[in-house]
Symmetry: C2
Subunit: 105 residues, 2 copies
DNA sequence: TATTCATATGTATATCCGTTCATATGAATA
DNA sequence: TATTCATATGAACGGATATACATATGAATA
């Protein structure tokens, strides 16, 4: 896995930073966490995160652009799900990090 | 590892979002990547990321607050290193994510 | 203890970003 | 094809934030 993390091109660094940035907003993170359980349409997502349809859609557009989610149509609704399993792994890892920190204090 | 990512308290969600946010800035990410290779003093870090001593120190303060780095003194210098191995794992995971995406296109 | 040198901190500013409100889009249904 | 309903998009506003500049801090050395 970890092969020379230090030697990473500028453009790749930018892209990775964007990835983290997208996960670094509470609203977007809650969307991702919600989707880690099951695929959901926009309406349900916005209910889940307690945010307007518009705000939710704006954030989903960003998540799409960062390849963190994918969309499929089901009837009138668009159903969102996590793009791949790496996202889930990173979420899980971040939670473990937090947990251990708490145990130390 | 992945136990019910959906059911996470609001405060924990905030804390995790902060973690990602800290890694989501290009400058801070480059700092973390640099530290993944070896521990470094502030001067060397600022040279490495091509940024003023002040800007670097400001960002290091944020990374400290988020428990992503730790500091030890060596003579006159303060030596920074990654707080733990989770950070390294998350960095590595994010790079893999990017790589696979590229291969698909 | 006085001085120095590495690092931290305060303030200001320009830019970025998340949300809201209003409206457009367009696939699915009648 | 006309209509409807879910979602996307555009513009704008307020708050957050990264950097620069000036200065403070404080441990290490003389």
């Amino acid at each position: 896995m970890s092969h020379r993390l230090e030697e990473i091109s500028e453009s790749e660094c930018q892209r990775i930073a964007l990835l983290f940035k997208m996960m670094g907003d509470p609203t977007r993170l809650r969307i991702l966490l919600a989707l880690s359980g099951s695929s959901l349409c926009v309406m349900h997502i916005s209910e889940r995160v307690g945010m307007s349809q518009s705000a939710t859609s704006h954030q989903l557009a960003l998540l799409r652009k960062a390849d963190l989610v994918r969309v499929t149509r089901s009837g009138k609704s668009l159903v969102y799900s996590l793009a791949d399993d790496h996202v889930r792994q990173m979420l899980a890892l971040s939670i473990v990090h937090g947990k251990e920190k708490r145990d130390h204090e």
